[in-house]
Symmetry: C2
Subunit: 444 residues, 2 copies
């Protein structure tokens, strides 16, 4: 199994019987998923996606990625939320957070349309100057403000640069049939890929949404799907004794019920930084509703031991940690002897940095546990596309089970509409006149 849950550090916080006290609830949650009769059951496409995904489209994704690698210096990926985080997280984790700076054979990849900052958009435009560019626009409806604004600007950029040929460089990932963007793309002759109806944004990284940009970065997406499929098979048995994913879901609920209102996802690799953001969307958007939910936060150690470490060790006792322990690094380094020993670290001579990083992790887990912060550990031998696919599925299923355990709909996000409605009203969108008056009153 590519991801193993280690619970030995949890002993002082959760007793053995507590976990098995959850078995009946977990069984009920498992049944809701399997029988598709729980809240949000229209959005269960991710559950068997690693087995049932569209193989013909998958081949088209691979072909498109090859084409982009061949004819482009830059791929601009336009999307927000679930149409942004998964791909970026995968690319940073599986290649490098410095992917765009490092020498390589594949195009630079910039993510646009995930904010309304004109500065950020102008900078990406500047980075495209004089380069051969392809676009991947990812939007279910085509009307989400942030990506739509960016697409307007980049479409103009592409048309100016390539004229009629621009259409060969624009790849659109959108609804299969409905939505204005699908219709428009067909008219324009853009190649399109599908965001399945039954897969929500935050569950979509293993669809074309994530896979096309990830493949352009040179990552083996077949291995990702195999990892996910392996997880799907391994994590299908409803037994807390052997299903680590269900055990994780149950334990985080137990901790939440004991007043631990924040979960900190912890990694010891800077490359995991965007993966933390992906996890925060997955759990925050799934569970943060009906005035409930564990607040998802994250740190990268040992960096953040020198910022949030103090709080975790001895601040408000309202959090627990889930540590992602990646045992083998992509690249290693051996500490050499220094005759001056100015830093007093010659006792580390001959050790690999990865070994030191491991000891920092073990030492930290013991220190934080002693300080009263429960620690769960997800062990991963090596981070590669297979393990990434496994981990994604592991978290997705854990989130679904965990959401059902806390009695909410893990698949909707009604709260995201509030700001949109207000924004449209304040911007004077036709049809929002009454709302606009109300809001202007409040802003006075």
């Amino acid at each position: 199994m590519a991801v193993k849950l280690q619970t030995k550090y949890l002993e002082p916080f959760v007793r053995e019987h507590e976990l098995f006290g959850m078995q009946h609830e977990v069984e009920a949650a498992h049944k809701l998923l399997e029988e598709k009769n729980g809240l949000g059951n229209d959005y269960l496409g991710w559950l068997y996606l690693p087995r049932d995904y569209d193989k013909e489209e998958f081949a088209r994704i691979q072909a498109a990625a090859k084409q982009i690698q061949k004819d482009s210096d830059v791929l601009v990926v336009i999307g927000i939320g679930g149409s942004y985080l998964g791909a970026r997280a995968a690319i940073e984790l599986l290649t490098s957070p410095m992917y765009n700076l490092l020498p390589k054979q594949t195009p630079n990849i910039y993510f646009a349309g995930n904010s309304i900052s004109p500065t950020a958009l102008q900078e990406i435009l500047q980075l495209c100057e004089g380069k051969d560019v392809s676009l991947n626009v990812i939007s279910k409806s085509g009307t989400t403000t942030e990506p739509a604004l960016a697409f307007r600007i980049f479409r103009e950029f592409m048309q100016k640069k390539y004229g009629e040929d621009a259409k060969k460089r624009i790849y659109v990932t959108t609804d299969k049939a409905r939505g204005t963007l699908k219709k428009f793309s067909d008219e324009q002759g853009y190649q399109t890929f599908v965001i399945p109806d039954d897969v929500g944004g935050r569950y979509s990284v293993l669809t074309a949404v994530g896979l096309l940009p990830i493949a352009v970065a040179g990552v083996d997406i077949e291995q990702i799907m195999q990892g996910a499929q392996n997880a799907m098979e391994n994590l299908s048995v409803c037994d807390l004794g052997i299903n680590d994913c269900y055990r994780y879901a149950a334990l985080r609920n137990i901790l939440g019920r004991k007043g631990k209102s924040i979960e900190l996802l912890v990694s010891y690799e800077p490359a995991f930084t965007l993966m933390n953001e992906w996890y925060k969307q997955l759990f925050g958007e799934s569970e943060g509703k009906d005035h409930k939910g564990i607040f998802p936060a994250s740190v990268v150690f040992s960096t953040d031991l020198h910022s949030m470490g103090q709080f975790i060790q001895d601040g408000s006792r309202i959090l627990f940690e889930t540590v992602v322990d990646i045992k083998r690094p992509k690249r290693d380094l051996t500490v050499k002897e220094d005759p001056s020993n100015v830093d007093g670290l010659n006792f580390l001579t001959g050790m690999q940095m990865s070994y030191i990083n491991q000891k920092a992790m073990q030492g930290t887990i013991l220190a934080h546990t002693e300080g009263g912060t429960p620690n769960l550990v997800l062990e991963i031998e090596e981070m590669n596309p297979f393990a990434f696919g496994y981990l994604v599925y592991f978290f997705e299923k854990a989130c679904a089970i965990s959401g059902y355990l806390s009695g909410i709909n893990p698949f909707d996000q009604p709260g995201v509409e509030g700001y949109k409605t207000n924004m449209f009203a304040l911007l004077g969108k036709p049809g929002y006149e009454d709302k606009q008056q109300q809001l202007l009153e409040k802003l006075k």
Copy 2:
């Protein structure tokens, strides 16, 4: 005033008399700072630093920055925690988070020694291949593991590349007199800058610690100091009616006492991302102790409205937001009409993106407030070096006052030692044999 606190959205959550009920506590906290007799009073050097800083050293910092700009393609900054976050936050906020990718006249700047990841370190080494490099090593003692390991490796790199001349490219920011690194630097002939004894790491961005790397990026550090000095003067009067910094400190404590256990720092500019991390260290390390403290977290909108937005709108009602409202962007863009209007956004035609971003902010504040999440707003006309200096001092002083209001020592960080001791023991450092045995027992 470069930073103004807007509290009108707070009305449903905090009544007017509550704020003035805090006046006596705030006065007591103010006195502790001014009379230097509170907890941690050895670390108040930051309080009058914008007036009293060493002008001779400041000129040396500017000269060193010019030299590095002239003779280097790359500056590698080695430091962790307070010796890392401030400089990086300033550079990303005042130039761009894509500083290293964008065309410019100043050197690329890479931050090393802020983790134990060998992969991250190898990648920075790779980026230095064939480039002219300078080093800025920032460490009070010189023995902190992360930067010390990186310095070992980069010292070797520099010596191989430059031989005897390496010393002219190594700049060390460290203790004034004590510490092995100061002695070693003098022996080797490195130019040194001072980390003052009475300024803690998280309060050090306005010393050489932050200023040298920031100046290398081409930012006007005189303007930064002027902004900080302006803040120092403006924020010295102990009156909640006019001192926005004290009002902010009091209000966050009021909200904390009402059960809001998480403060989310919010910005609408991706360039603010690392500034969020700086804020998290400042408040997390200052206040997260004695099992107390508001947990500092952060988001960048509208990006994270599509991830954490749901939770903030309708999840557990345990958080409040502090929105940094930067009114004018560095660069703007106007929305053009699109004949196809495929996205339905033609009602935005002719608007500037910065205006749309502002409306998104206002709409979000109203929506979140309505949902039960209190919102404070820090208004800033434009983000420039002056405003940055002002904002840094604003937060520093707010953190000190807030810490005294909650009865803790805002200037120590005893909890950071726990992981270090355990790590050393597990790595077999001489003198830690007993501890090692205990820990190995626990790890079994």
